[in-house]
């Protein structure tokens, strides 16, 4: 069955291509090569300049984190005139627990959310992408519709629900729903990815007598590594940065997460601890950036898409 993807393009529609033009003489070839290299260089210069604009905010944040607090707003430049690591120490120990505690809480919630989304959304996505069942379009619309309502008008009913369940100040309200595929965005994402996969494979497997579970776990999942990585990365980042639901469901500072704890540095009604806020903000980028770096390794062509051996 594995060889069935090695199909050939439809040769009937082939048309003349400029790529095979007249033979080139040597100087022309050299010049062309040079042009290609020049073009590549230009691309890189462009990409780097563009990258600098993208990097500026991070540099600025690091620079602010390193400035003594009173200089953050008085001093304009990117390069601090004096460097201090005070903000990091002060920020780390500013609240009831050292910040490591909040990082751990965020990590638990985020890990749960990632696992939950990967499991539940991929299952649902397979059904929508590959199976036929009654009212499929209707359920698909319901699925998409469920993410269109702003959180602000459902958060109070949600609070009442979770409070009835005794889940307030636990991580359940932030993890359990993910195992029940309430992040419908990711179902949609995976449906779209699965639908880019040729159907030949699973149809062949079906005829060989494989069950849908087998097709799902043995064919679709391995072929969908980029989609799963994307889901994991996005879930991680969204959950890590999520504020409102964590704020509402986690009121006890023992279970606070990084974003909730970070906000307590800012008090628009009084004094704000900008220095520690910048310092911890920089630190809190670490896990998400690290996860992104780790996850993007899976954004390479998977075993399946490079051809099956």
């Amino acid at each position: 069955m594995t060889n069935k993807t090695r199909t050939k393009p439809d040769s009937g529609k082939r048309s003349g291509s400029g790529a095979h033009a007249a033979p080139l003489n040597d100087t022309l070839l050299a010049r062309a090569l040079l042009a290609v290299r020049g073009k590549k260089l230009l691309t890189h210069i462009g990409l780097i300049l563009f990258g600098l604009a993208m990097l500026y905010p991070l540099l600025w944040m690091i620079s602010s984190a390193l400035k003594p607090e009173e200089l953050i707003f008085r001093e304009q430049g990117l390069i601090p005139t004096s460097i201090t690591f005070e903000n990091f120490g002060a920020g780390w120990n500013a609240l009831r627990h050292p910040f490591g505690h909040y990082f751990m809480n965020s990590a638990i919630i985020t890990a749960g959310a990632v696992v939950g989304n990967l499991l539940a959304c991929s299952l649902a996505a397979y059904a929508f992408a590959r199976l036929e069942f009654p009212l499929k379009r209707f359920w698909f619309a319901v699925m998409l519709g469920s993410i269109m309502l702003p959180l602000h008008v459902v958060i109070v009913p949600q609070y009442i629900l979770f409070s009835e369940l005794g889940w307030i100040n636990t991580f359940y309200p932030l993890i359990v729903p993910k195992f029940l595929a309430t992040d419908a965005f990711f179902i949609f994402l995976m449906v779209q990815f699965i639908r880019t996969l040729p159907r030949d494979l699973d149809e062949a497997a079906l005829i060989d007598g494989a069950s849908h579970w087998r097709i799902f776990s043995r064919i679709i999942i391995p072929l969908s590594m980029p989609a799963l990585a994307t889901t994991a990365i996005f879930t991680f980042i969204w959950t890590w940065n999520d504020f409102l639901s964590q704020l509402i469901f986690l009121t006890n500072p023992d279970v606070h997460t990084v974003p909730v704890a970070l906000r307590t540095f800012l008090d628009s009604s009084g004094e704000s601890s900008w220095g520690p806020m910048f310092a911890i903000s920089v630190l809190s980028l670490g896990p998400i950036f690290g996860f992104f770096l780790a996850g993007q390794r899976y954004l390479v062509r998977g075993i399946a898409t490079t051809g099956l051996k």
């Binding site: 069935k4 199909t7 529609k13 990409l47 602000h152 029940l180 969908s224 994307t230 990365i233 992104f292």
Partner: protein, 322 residues
């Protein structure tokens, strides 16, 4: 879709019989029922979530949209009052206009950036992971509270943009705090976070079987031709997904405007977004009934736009599984 040149499906034995044979009919009915049951099993977690977690609060907010619920205290049925009230509410109209401008300007821009860079980066540029990471950084920062200060650093009266304009002798305003330009800076902020759709595009590009390109090369199709006959058509489901995703996200955009404007749509409501107004009515003015009604109108707006997109998608989105 005539230009699409992708491998056709292998000739597979089709389970559908052309002869109306009762034995076949029964078989296919049984097969369909079995498939439905399988689907139910795959959808089980989602169904449970829908019924236990999503549906309750959703329906509660729908019900409350017909009441004068104020968060504290009792509520009374007021019929369609909350819905008709929107038409006479100039701030609602303002919020809707701001959001519409924001969505229809920033989403196409953001997606074009994302697609263009994904395509450039996917051409095997050396150091791809580094570029990809750098371009993704703004998306990580996008909802940070630090963004409020950062955006002033860039678009403030003494910000980078004005420093740059100063070279040309142009005296800039405080772009973030001018009612004529504040919305523009939020659009820039959204475009600047093009990293997320870019990553999804890159993932989509990586999902295209390499065998297609190999085969096309053997057949002598050039790069450009390969792009139009393989890359683009096979990427359309992902483009479509990104479009829907960003559309919904942009309509619900809250955090960035909230953080940058200080939570009140300042200056002079020029950055008052739809969901910010919903939030303000609900949690600040304690008119949760009205807020719920606005939220449901938003659902209607997004849903109809999404529906239009789904209808249109027949003409330009190509699914490989057909």
């Amino acid at each position: 879709m005539t230009a699409v040149q992708v491998p056709p499906k292998q000739a597979l034995p089709q389970p559908v019989s052309l002869v109306p044979d009762p034995e076949h009919k029964r078989q296919s009915r049984r097969r369909r029922r079995r498939e439905s049951l399988t689907a139910l099993a795959f959808l089980a977690p989602w169904f449970v979530g829908l019924i236990v977690i999503t549906a309750g609060p959703l329906l509660a907010s729908l019900y409350l949209s017909f009441t004068d619920y104020s968060l504290l205290g009792d509520h009374e049925w007021v019929g369609l009052d909350n819905y008709t009230r929107m038409f006479d509410d100039p701030r609602f109209v303002k919020a809707l206009t701001n959001t519409a401008i924001y969505v229809f300007v920033s989403v196409p821009l953001q997606l074009s950036f994302a697609l263009a860079l994904a395509l450039i980066l996917d051409r095997g540029v050396r150091g791809l992971p580094i570029y990809r990471s750098i371009y993704y950084l703004p998306s990580l920062l996008g909802s940070s509270v630090a963004i409020a200060i950062l955006w002033r650093k860039v678009f403030g009266a003494d910000g980078l943009v004005n420093d740059f304009l100063g070279f040309f002798g142009i005296q800039g305003t405080s772009w973030v705090s001018n009612p004529d330009t504040a919305l523009g800076t939020l659009i820039v902020l959204n475009v600047w976070t093009f990293g997320s759709p870019m990553v999804i595009f890159l993932a989509g590009l990586r999902q295209i079987p390499a065998s297609y390109y190999e085969a096309a090369s053997i057949d002598g199709a050039g790069k450009i031709r390969q792009f139009f006959s393989i890359t683009l058509p096979l990427l359309t489901p992902i483009i479509f997904f990104n479009l829907i995703l960003q559309l919904i996200n942009a309509f619900q955009s809250f955090t960035q405007a909230y953080v940058v404007s200080g939570g009140n749509g300042s200056p002079a409501d020029s950055t008052l977004f739809y969901t910010m107004y919903v939030y303000e009515r609900g949690f600040n003015a304690w008119q949760m009934g009205y807020a719920s009604a606005m939220a449901w109108v938003l659902v209607l707006i997004i849903a109809s736009l999404t529906a239009v997109n789904f209808l249109m998608s027949k003409y330009w989105v190509f699914y490989n599984d057909k």
